[in-house]
Structure formats: C-alpha cells, structure tokens
Assembly symmetry: D2
Homo-oligomer: 501 residues x 4
C-alpha cells in the first residue's frame, strides 16, 4: 500500500495545477503542508502577518471544505480553475487540521490534471456593428482602459485599436500600463475634461464604480453613450445603460471591433483633440511648477517627479496610501501591462509589502531583470512594515519608498509636536491623523540587514534611489521626509478620492 | 412637493423593469407594497406559505439593502438585471420596514429605466474548429441538451444542429422539450447505453453534476471527449476536462458550430444508431408491458401511460416527488421548450403548486390556450398543498394529479395499516416512510370549490383527466391511488436518483 | 468487533439524553436515522413540511458539525444541554449525509450519560433588600409574569408572592397560566391602565420588548421603577434601567423575595386596587356586550366567548394568527402553567399545527386526560394546514378551531367577492388581504378521516365544540365563519399588535 | 434647533457609558468620530494595523446596525452593557459611513445613561452543601483558579478559601495572579501530578477546554469529582459532568462555600501535600539547573530566570508566542490579579503590542507606578511589531522583550544560514520555520526614538532590563538572542501546547 498524507496530497494537487509559489505563516499544522510543498517543488515564502481566516472565506469567489482526503485533488483543481476562469478572484479551501497528518492509500485518490487555460468568448456581431456605428458618429470619443484589459492580456489588440482609430484614451489606476502612459494618445493629464466632455466612451474592462464616479453627472455628460466591453454579463449596463454591450474576452472583442471599424480614423486635427491638448499643456505646467519648487521639506510633486525620472521603464510599481497612491497614480508613469499593483477598488491598506514580496520572488527566481518598487504612505507602511524582514530573509532586492508626511492625509512638524507634548496628555491633544514626526522607517529596514536611507533633499533622493537601483543583492528603503502640510494640487473634481464605503 | 412613499417607489421601480406579476404573503407592512403594486398595474397573487427570509438571501445571486429611499429604483434595477443576465438566478432586496411608509420628494429620486435584454456572446473560433474536428471523427457521438439551452431560447438552433448532423440526443430533466421527446433522434429510451458508450458528447447548457453522475465511469466511458457549450466560464471543464470548451450563448455558439460543420452528417446506418435503436425497442417493450398490466391498484407505469396519452402536446408539466418525478421524467413526453418545471438540481420539495400557480396566472391573464398540469407525489403534495386555495381563489384551471402510494418511496395498504394500529402506539410501529393510506387529497381541492376526483382504475383516470381538461373555469385534483408497493422498474444504473447531499 | 452506524449513534445518543420524541421528514438519508430512533425506543412522528435548514442554524443557540462518528454522543449531549441550560433555545447539529451509514467500532466511541438538570442560581442579597424596600414604598405596585416564570416552573413561588403581598399581576401572552387568569389578583382586564399607572413593577421573567412597548412612555410612566428578575444577565436593565436587578432562577429569587418581604402586604382597599377594579368592570361590560351580540355572522368576541365557556380548564391552548391570536389572548383564559403555546415574540406563522401535534402526541402517549385545542386564524392555517394529515395518521384528538374571516386582518363576504369577479381579473382587483370567502377548511380535515364542522351560529359552535371534546379518537376541525369585517374593539393603545420588525 | 452629528452622538454616547479610551485607525470617515471623541473627553490612541471588520462581527457577543441616528445612544448602551454583563466579550456596532456626518435635532434623540454595574448571582444552597460534602471527603483535593475568578474580581474570596481550607491550588494561564504564584499553596511546579491525582477539583471560573485537556484521562483521573463554579449555565458540566454545579458570580459563590465549610481544614501533613511537595522540589531542581547553565547563546530558562528576578512584583506581564508564552507562563511569576494578558484560549498571534499599549496608556494617564512588560516570541513580534511607533508616539514606557530564537518553534544559527544560502534558492531550502538569524528587532524600536538593546549574555540581559525599568520616559525593546535549538524541557505531558483547532 502506497500511503500518502493530507499534507502531501495538498502539495501534489497544487503542483499538478502548476502552482509554483506558496506564501504562508507556519504554525501547527501548517508546517507539514509547507514542507510537503517544498518537497513537491513548490517554492515556499514564510510571511509575518495574516488576516482573519473566516474573512477570507467571505470575500472569496469559491470556497469549499473537502469532506475526505480523497476529495483534495478535485477540490484544489476547482479552486484553481475558479480563481482564473471568468472574473479572476480568490479561492478558499478549508481543510480540517486533523486531515493534514491523516493518511490514505494513494490508490484511492482520484488525481486531477491541470485545468486548461481560461476559455475565451466573443461579442455578438450585431452589437459590434452598433458599437462601430456609434464610434464613427462620435464627436468626442474616448477609450477608457481598465484592469480587465490587463487581466485579459489584451495589450496588443488595445494598442492597435487606439493607433488605428486615433481616439484618445485614459487608463484607470489598475489599467495603467496596458498602453504606456507616455503614449501620444494618452490624455491622463486632461482626465477630468476628457471624462466630462466625451460623447462616446469605449469601456475596455473598466467598471463604472466609485473610481469613475459611477459614470454619473456632473463628472460625465448626461448624454454620453457607453460602448462597454466586459467578460462579466452582470457588469454590463451597470449604473449607466450601455448603448452597445459587448460581452466577451477583451482581446477577442477588440479584434472584432478592429475587423469592423477597418480604415476609419478619428481626425487628429479635430476640436476634441485641440481642447484636450490645450488642457494637458496647462496641467503639465502646474505639475511642473509644483515639482520644481525648491523649498524644503519637499512636496509630493517634487518627490514623485524625481522618482519618476530615475525609475526604469520596466519596473513593477506597487503603491498604497491615500495621497501617496492618488498622486503617484498621476506622476509615476507605467509603460508595461501588469507592472502595477495598488490597493485597488476597495482601498485595502497593508497589501503593498505582500505584493512587493510576490513580485520580488518572481523577479529573483525567474532571473528577470525588472525591479520592484513599492511606494508607501507612512501610515500605510504601518500595516505590514514588518514584512521587510521577509524581504531581507530572502534577499529580495525590493525598493521601498516611504513618502513620509508624519501622518494620515497630513501631519505636524517636529517642532509643533514638541510644543503639543508640553501641553499635556497627547491622547487628548494630538490630532487623530498625526503619527510620530520624522519617524525613521529606514531603520526598520536596516534592522534586518537591508539598506536604509533617510532622505530630506532632492539630491539625497536621487542619490539614494540610484544606489538602490544598483543594488540587486538586498532590499532598500528610502524614508522620504516631505512637508507634513503638503497636499494634492487643487482638483477640478476630487476624482480619485477613496469612497466613503 | 410631489411626495412618494417607499411602497410606491418599490412598485414603480418594479413596473419600470417590466415586472408584471408579484407573488406574496401580506402582513404588516407588506400590505402597502402589494396595494401600491396593484395601483401601478402589477398583478398581485396572494400566496399561503413562505420560506425563511434569511435563507433566501443566502441562496440569491444578488442581495442588497437600500440605505435610503432614493436608492430604491437603482437597487431594483440591479436586482432585476442580475437575475436575468449571465446565469439566471434569484435576487434578494431587504427593505427596512419603516421605509415602506416613509415619504420623500419625488424630485430627489433617480429613476432608472428598464434594463436591456441580456447580452449575448460567442465562442472563440479556434475552439469551434476543434469541436467540429472532434465531431467529425466521432464513432459514437451524442448531444445532451440541458436547461441552459432552454434558458437561452436556443431551440431553433439546437434542432437544426440535430437534424443537420443526424446525431442522437438526450435531454436532461430540465432540458426536456427543447426538442420534442418524440423526435426521431431522441434516444432517451436508451439513455444508460447512450451515456456509457458515447465517444464524443456535446453538452449544450447541461452540467456534469450528480444528475449526470459527474461524467465519471462507470456511467461514462473514461475516454469520452466532451464538447462543452456554456455561458458560465467557471462551469467549463468542471468535473471532466472539456476537449473543446465553447464559452458563450448556447444559440450563438450552436450557430457557429452549424456554420463550421456545414454538410457533414453522421450516418444513420452506423453501428451506433443500430445499437441505440435495438436498446430503445427493448426498453419500450418493458415499459409497455408494465404500463398495460391490468391489476389494481395501478402501478406507476400504467398511470403515467394513460396520463401521457391524454395530455395535450402544448401543456405545461410541473412535477415533484421522488419516484413520481423520476418516472414521470421518462413517461411524460415534452414537446415544447420551457413547458416543464420540476424540483430541479437540488430536489427541493414544495415548489410544485407555486410553479403551477405562476404558470396558471400567466395562462389566465394572457389568455393562452395551454393547460398547466402539476404531477405530485403524495408526500410532496404535503409541503404546499394548501396553495390549492390560491388556485381556487383566482380560478386558475390548474390540473393537479397526486400519484398516491400512501408514503414516501413506498407505503402500506389500508388493511396492513389497520393491523398495525391494533398493535399499539403508531409512533413506535409505523415505518417512517408511511403516510395515511388512501388519504383523500382530492377533498382538499373540493374544500375550496375546485373539482376533486378519487381515481382507482384506468377508466376513472382517463375520465377524470378528460373532464379536467375540458374544465377551464376551475382547478381540478386527481387523487390517483396506486399500489403502495409499486416501484420503478429495474434500473441498469440508478440514474436519476437524488444524491445524498 | 461490535460495529455501530452513524444513524444508531445518533439515536442512542438522543436516547441517552432522555429524548423521547423525534419529529421529522424522511428522505434519503433520514430514513435510517428515523428507523434507528424507533429501534432505540424513541417515538417517531413523520411531519409534512419543514423550513430551510440553513435558517435553523442561524437561529439556534448552539450549532455544531461533528467531524467524526466518535464525536456524535458528545455533540448530542452538548446540544441537549445547551438547549435546556440558561435561556432555553434550539440546538442545531449538522451531520454529513455519508456519516449516517458509515460504521465504526463501538469500542472507539466515548459515550456520554444524560446531562444533569439545569443549574439554579439566586440573586445577590443586597439587591433583594433593595427590591423589598422599593416594593414596600410602592403606591401602585404591579407584578408582570413572563414566560421565564413558566420555563422556570416557578408557579408555586409566584403564587405565594402574589397571595402573600396582595399585589395585582398581569401575565404576558406566554406567561399566561403561571397563575390562573381568573385569579382575583389578575388585572388583565385593566391591562393598559395597570401598565400606565404602576409606580413599581416586578418583572418575573418578562422582557421589555415590543410586546411590552419596551417599557417606554406613553405606555408606561416615565418614573416607573423596575424590579427585574431574570436568569440572563444581558437582559437586565435592557431598554429600561432596573431599580433592582435580580439575576437568578425565577423560583429561587422569588423565594428570596418572600423570605425578605415577610408579613408585609399591599392593602386591598388602596386607591390602586379601586381604580383597577373600576376599569376591569367597565371593560368586562364592553366585552360582554360584544360577546352577546346576536347578529350573524358572529364577531370575534361572540365566538371566543362561547369557546371559552366550553373549554376544560386543563386544556392546552395553541394559537396563531393576527386578530385571532390577539383577541384570543384576552378572551381565552389559562388556568395552568405551560398550557399555552403561541406564535411568540417573533410572530412566526405556521407553528400552530406543529405545536398541536407535539402536545397531542404527548397527551396520547402519556395517557393524560388533557385536551389540545389549536385556534388558528384562517390565513395562519394556510401555512401548515396539511399537517392535519399527520394528526389523522396518528389519531391525535387535537381540536382545531379556524376563526375564518375570509382574509388577513379582514376579508370580504361571498356576495361582494362575486361582484368583484365580474369586474375582471382578480389579480388586479382583489384586495391583497382577501382570501377565498367561506373556504371550507373543515373539509381539509375530513379528507383525512378527521371530523370537520362548518359553523355559522352560536348553537353550531357550541354543539360542534362539545362533540369534538367528547371525541378522543380522532382530530376535529371547526371552521367558524365570522363577519369578515369583524375587528378588535377599540384599543386605548394598540398594545399587543405585532411590531414592524 | 440644536443639531448634532452622528460622530458627536457616538462620542457622547460612549462618554455617557464611561468609556474613557478609544483605540482606532483613522481614515475617512473615522477622523470625525475620533475628533468628536477627543472633544467629548475620551482619550484617543491612533494604532497602526487592524483586522478585517466583518470578522469582528462574527466573533462578537453583540452586534447591531443602528437604523437611524436617533438609535445611536441606545445601541451604544446595549453594546457596552452586553460586553460587561454575563460572560464578558466584544460588541460590534456597524454604523453606515454616511451617518457619521449626518445631522439631527438633539431634541429627537433619546439619550441613555450609563448602564449599572453587572448584576451578581449566587449558587443554589443545596448545591453548596453538596460541594462542601465532597470537599470534606476528599483525599487529594485541588482548586483550579481560572480567568473567570479574575474577571469577577474575586481575589479576596479565593484567597480566603485557599487559606482557610489549606487546599493546594493551580492557576490557569489567565488565572495567574488571582493569588500570587509564590503563595505556599500554589502547586504549579507539580502541575501534571496535581491534575492527574486529584480526586476532587474545585474549578473557579476555569473551563475544561484544550488548555486543561478537556478534563479527560490520561491527564485526569477518570474518577475525579468536579465542583464547578461558573457564571455561565451552559458551561456547567461541559466535557465532564460536574458533581456539584455552582452557577453564579465566583466571588459570591466562594463566599457561600466559606460560610458552609467553616472551620474544616485539609491537613497540611497529608500524603497529598507530601507527594506534591516532593514533586515540586524535583521540578524546581531541573528548572534551576537549566536556568543556571552558562553556555551561550542562552536557553529559554536562563533568560526567563533572570528576567523573573528583576521584574517588579506589580508589573503587568503581556505575553505571546509558542514556547515563549508556554515557558513564560511557568517561569514568570504573577503576584497580582489582572496583571497578565496573553494570547489566550485561541492562541491569537499579534495581540501583544496592542495589549501592552492599552496597559501603558492606562499606566500613563492614571499615573500609576506599575510597569508594563511585553514578552514576545520573535515570530509573534512580526505580527504587530510596527505598533512600537505608537508606543513611541505617546511615550508609553512599555518594555518589550523579544525572545529571539531565529524562528518559529526553532530556527538556525547564522553560520548554518549562510551555508544554506550558498546552496541556492532559499525559497526551496530554508525550513518553513526559520526566520532571519539574529534579526535586530531592537532597531525597530530605536527607529522611532525608543531605546533598543541587543542582548546576548546574562549580564547584558540584566543590565538592559534594569536600565529599561529605570526609564519611565520612553519604551524599550530587549532583543534577547537565545539558542535557536533551545527547547522546552521534557514534559511529562505536553500540557499547554496549542491545540490543532
């Protein structure tokens, strides 16, 4: 009899599904699973914190509890398949602790081979015709590229659509990089105007949720016509009724659009392009003047300006925070698809270091040259900052940049803080948004052998970032002290501000 | 100021979404909603029982709780759209009781127009090519028609596929009627053999769940190749890996198959057709001999044989029970799509009368000529039998046929019962599966003014059913006493037996 | 090896915990459990309907899922113990279907003996002193007897408290019968005044929930002092702060009060007693005049008056409905504790016949002489009316009285109904509260061999009820047609009206 | 009109319930609540991490969602009351984001005053008699003091019981300090033997859960008689049937026992005391020899021995980790009740720094002299280590001692680690239990201005701890490097090992 333990079955089933990495926190009885995973050829990364397990189940797309060891491979296949088919999402498998060390005869297990690549569908051809008719009649067309386009790996098709039709485009935060942010058709620098005045919008895997103000006036024209491309039927016509609803894989549907739109091209000398370019020039001026201010402490724009200049085009940018994430979305350009990870639709804090570790392990174990840069607000860094030990343990050359304004949204300077302290009990005096002024986050990194930099000036910033980029042996952390009163520039509309959920 | 109550908003929002019927149980504060619905032109049907509300939320595809009156129309639109887009399902809206009578200014409400018809997608053309290649190479091809084909209203396309290719087909219980059960290509009478020996199976909106024994041996060949057509990505390759995974609307995908398969036709003189026809003939013999037995009480087959002979081809058949539903699926032919409702995948008992009322209201208010026939096991009838009052109240000419074997799975005859009673306390003696022998369910109908028939013989059955079919003014109930020891004929495999969930 | 199945373990574990009755709905795999229960000496009653299982878990006090057969006896003991210790409530055990027929060696099972009787606690003696001080100083004291007093079996102690102190008392609906409703100190007939004017209230296992209007003005004095006796700490001072919070078993705490209060007695010639008696006399006059009206159809008060006259004092009264339950609470007197079951705090409809069957089985199998009378509104009867078959099957001599007003809250008479029918489609015309006029619910009973009575007059009512009381062999159903426009008498406050939950 | 916002209502309601401290993480819209709390005189402490909110609801004793602003004070009162009445636990209030800034007229709000102190109950006197009878007849009696005794503030009564009766006692981990660990009757050093041989055990607010091996053999005698004192009825006779079940407040019940037991005293020269003392002496020898080993790196026992010698008797000890918590429970003595906080029944990691901050704020704002010492395993510190910034921000003089063995359960030394690194990819080589060797956790503290110490020797340990105890201005962190292969001494039974839940 060839016996196999539950832990081995889990490990082998994951391996069969081509799972290459496992991230976990050991403890009884996870140790056995982690060791079995390594034995099966899965790379194991031990992390420092976790969130409540029951919560995972609630937010998962698929959840199951195998009722016997025999079921494990089938349940693992279903979990992996569910997580990558249709709209991607997490899967949750709850395995009873005593199953891990239980044994059964290998002959009784039904093993399941790796699930095939996700299936692809196309839109109905009549809807395609309707979409092209709308597009051809548009005076002020706009393409919005969402994360769905990135997930669908549709960058080639989307680029062709943009370049063949000559239509301006905007990426959503998670859609950045599907086309490069410096593409001539990108009108991100005139974002509010583009949204407000567009008469026909092609949504490519982007949802009209709070990030796009639900597609409602006053941020959108009440007469805008939406051509919506999505792989999820229930998402079509959500919040705004689609004038053309194209259900299918983004890449396949964009190919259908290209076959139908053929040689039509939106004129580059149109009034629409003129008005957008004019606005982009004006906005660029404002950003530039903010970025080039030489006062110290630096403001957000100065810091991001110089970071942006030095980052290699193929780096992976991870970002979380409030202003840090919002301004970074504007100031840090993405040039490649799926090279950006941020706190996403729900604004969940604490995900940055975990994302960076995952990207870093991939970089290291696949020997790719691309760097991982994780840009964190100082408050955001507090959620999972201890994960820098994990980066050091595995020598992952992740670069963390903490944009440190001594608080959440805003903080106070050290002098003011000292004066407050004299006034009495800080639990009654300190504004709830403040953190310790000039906290030395870079020392959290150096505590574990990584390189830490305290950065106050532009020169220090450029020098520290350049050194970090040259260092491929260990992680670095730049603690960039900015003006605690620094804020975002005046917004026409508070576009990308987190919703009151 | 033009004030509107919560109840009115709910009613108007439903009306805007083209909801025509409301079914409910009044009580405070539902009365106001029901009256507002009638005022808005929605037909209201008052029912007699309901299931727990919290359970509804758990099993719903969409659930929401509007946080203010202003949100009601938008939430109702999302609920209706979610229920009909993608895989159809229930939606659940939880409206706080005090909202129903609260009032707001109509000017503050964002009204939402009716959501468009569900979007349609097509399969990837490379997968279509692969599917056709598999089909052309098949020695023993089979088409399985599932409820997805019925939901998709793909009957025209499916018929063309069957008739152009000449491939034998099987309907699943909920797929019955997409093509008529007496279609020459229907091999339902050789079902087990067809499943077991097929080498290529085209699944049209059918799932490999317990009803199809998960597609596993020994009921299926371990080498069978599955061509799977489904609108739900996560369902593809579930349990058995699809050799061709066609993601899209059933009708649209079948059209794609037809365009590619062109003039190819599976030969009607093949060995596959010979073996299937031989088995069908043999099985028909067995059924016929059971159906024609003249002993009394009748057995299942005799009862269903005569019912089947009299039912009009366009009637809507509702069915629930254990043996009653299983045997009825075989013996009662369906000729039209979406003319059959049964307890479905989860075998939920008590749904029959509710389904019949819904079909009956539709029949009555739309003046269609088709009849509704609800065939119930005697145990099943106990779950919601009081709904016959609802049928009588609205004069819905539903015909209920209770197949009464004095128990669940099987019962005892009156004489045996009397002897048991003499032995003492029936709570310790009566087998748990037994019900009262020869219970007069037809009197539950006559109690409310409908027509009740007690049926013991073939002649009584035919006469009562014919009378009921002639009566379009009121509901009827036939209480058909069959042999309490009557059972299903010997099954090669217990195919349609309910799973141990 | 002595093997035992899961079904046997469940049955034996229940038997070990002195469970005597099992109520269920068989189906695979419940049959085996039911048969094992009978084999173990548990009486099994097969029912006709059930509510959703998941919902049960949510509303249970204890829920568990044994992870192995070995755990079953321990889990059953915990479930039974949890259901009877502390505040009584339901327990839910979810046993995987495949466990029922699985087998293990009996030697591996840890069997658990019957849990001891619930533990009892007493109040803190300082709080007792405070309570007695408040009581002695009261001008208008009142005792409210709740269901907690009935659960605690504290009737002897409560009677002694009332009779020693001479304080007036009110029962809550579920507290009726702890002392007889005709006890000279019962002021139920002056309920609103008693609540409103009392200056010190002793709550004995009664909660200040919606049934007691949360203890708030205008139904209570804003200056009322509450002496609260409860076994549940979290319930103390809920909604109204207790002036004396007595945590403990009701019986034990009342004994403590008695030991401390000693010979003190509230004077029977006080102004408080005068005002209450005056109000009681006036109210009795109004009820009597309503009850003695001789117009037909009868009104609620007439029907209940005559029912009340005939019911034996020791009968068990089950009741559900809207007006039927509310008026019945006033008109039908209870004389014994735990002889009343109604829809309770949550107003759940459909529980009546189930309660009646449970009481009837107990009556039958324990050969007690007491009768079970189940008084149902016509709408309420629709929820579980098919359970009359269960009553007939086991020959339980339950008497069901349907108070039939052709609707929910109110209905229409047959003539009006006929005229409505002429006007067109009843789904658009019939008021949502109406049911079929003069529905013959008694025939639902006679359909299964029980005795049915149609009752229109006082004479018919008295004769039918007397006959039913004489019949101890079978169940009876009296369908009492009352005026569809009959309503409750004018209420000072709508005291016992169901809350808008 | 006197308007009030939701945030103000929340703050004022908490203040009314005598809530003095709020701990939170600001973000929109929590900022307003935090500021309103400070304005209302509640001290606010801003934290760095949180766990998922939905999970809180699941593990809370009380949860509610106010349906309007008016309800907030009543809901807050219920939440606070529920959390302190009966078995203490968390309460969860979910307030919709848009309520925080909404306004209403103060006149419409029903304000609720502070709930009274928790009610107290006593045991039934017959059960008291039975308990005393058992105690007097005992040959080998034992008292186990659990956290219930600490919550009930019953230290005076428990001490009197122990000293009057002369019975040996054991504290559970959370019951430590109710009596001082160096009390002559404390037999913790002979724990296994005491549990195994006791014939009568008095459980004072201690549960027979996994920490006490469910009270089952082989850790307990199968004939042991349990006298159980608990305020929760459902807990009585759980797992082991109580020979005497005393339901009530621990302090009140112990007083009852004392009144009944009177002058009886268990002889100090009994065989039971001899066997326990003999075992204690032997165990003390083993611990001492481990503690006095002079090899470096230190082992657990050496480290705890010296820490124990220096800690002031009135310090509050917070502890979490695996071996660190288990061995610390034995080696670090508690002298005062409610001066110990650890990961508790569920072994939740990451709670230590939060507990320490709460204790530290209390110490600081109430100017008490007692120190807070937080002893963390190195893995445990990774969960919430960033909270040291919070300690520094508020200058809380918490002393953190990280017992650093380079891993979870065990780690590897730096030399071995370097050799592993040469072998290739650490994700495939490093044992899942290892962390970075000699990680400099003390620098995480110094990064924020606290004092960090790297400790390798006994001298360094004593000197650093003494300095930290002298420093009342800022937090300190001692990073105590111990032998990564150090383990617990051989256990007779693995008593306090975390369960496989």
């Amino acid at each position: 009899m060839d016996e196999v333990t539950g832990a081995q079955l889990i490990a082998e089933a994951l391996k069969s599904q081509n799972v290459e990495y496992m991230f976990g926190i050991v403890g009884v009885p996870i140790i056995e699973v982690a060791m079995a995973a390594q034995a099966a050829g899965i790379k194991y990364v031990g992390m420092r914190n976790e969130q409540a397990v029951e919560a995972c189940r609630l937010y998962s797309k698929f959840s199951a509890r195998p009722s016997s060891l025999e079921m494990i491979p089938a349940v693992v296949e279903k979990a992996v398949r569910s997580s990558i088919y249709g709209r991607p999402g997490a899967s949750y498998i709850d395995i009873a602790g005593d199953m891990v060390n239980a044994k059964i005869d290998r002959a009784n297990v039904r093993f399941v081979s790796c699930c095939p690549a996700p299936p692809v569908s196309q839109a109905d051809s009549r809807e395609i015709t309707q979409a092209v008719r709308l597009l051809r009649a548009a005076q002020r067309p706009l393409i919005i590229i969402g994360k769905g386009a990135a997930y669908a790996r549709a960058e080639k098709e989307v680029r062709e659509l943009v370049e063949v039709t000559g239509i301006p485009f905007l990426p959503t935060p998670m859609g950045k990089g599907v086309l490069p942010d410096d593409h001539p058709n990108c009108v991100a620098a005139a974002r509010s105007r583009a949204l407000l005045q567009a008469d026909v919008i092609v949504l490519l895997g982007a949802r009209l949720n709070w990030i796009l103000h639900f597609g409602f006036p006053p941020r959108f024209s009440p007469h805008v016509k939406i051509i919506q491309v999505d792989l999820c039927a229930e998402e079509l016509s959500n919040n705004v009724r689609a004038a053309s609803a194209l259900l299918g894989d983004i890449g396949a549907v964009v190919r259908q659009l290209l076959e139908t739109v053929r040689s039509w091209r939106f004129p580059s000398d149109s009034q629409w392009w003129l008005t957008l370019k004019e606005k982009m020039t004006a906005n660029a001026q404002i950003s530039k003047s903010l970025a080039l201010r030489s006062t110290l402490p630096m403001n957000y724009y100065t810091a991001f300006h110089h970071i942006s200049e030095l980052l290699p085009k193929d780096c992976i940018i991870v970002s979380e925070g409030a202003n840090t994430m919002d301004i970074g979305r504007t100031m840090l350009l993405n040039y490649l698809p799926r090279h950006r990870l941020d706190a996403g639709t729900f604004g969940t804090m604490g995900v940055g270091p975990g994302f960076a570790i995952a990207a870093g392990v991939l970089e290291q174990t696949q020997k790719s040259a691309q760097r991982v840069v994780c840009i964190e607000g100082d408050s955001a860094f507090g959620f999972s900052g201890m994960e820098v030990e994990t980066m050091c343990r595995y020598k992952l050359p992740v670069i963390i940049i903490v944009i440190n304004n001594n608080g959440i949204y805003s903080g106070v300077d050290p002098k003011t803080w000292k004066e407050m302290e004299k006034m009495g009990d800080m639990t009654t005096i300190a504004p709830p948004v403040t953190l310790l002024p000039e906290a030395r986050y870079e020392q959290v990194m150096s505590a574990f052998g990584g390189r830490g930099y305290l950065v106050r000036t532009v020169e220090e910033l450029r020098s520290a970032l350049q050194e970090s980029l040259n260092n491929t042996q260990m992680p670095s952390l730049l603690n960039v002290l900015i003006d605690p009163a620094s804020d975002r520039k005046q917004q026409e509309f508070p576009w990308l501000t987190r919703a009151n959920l």
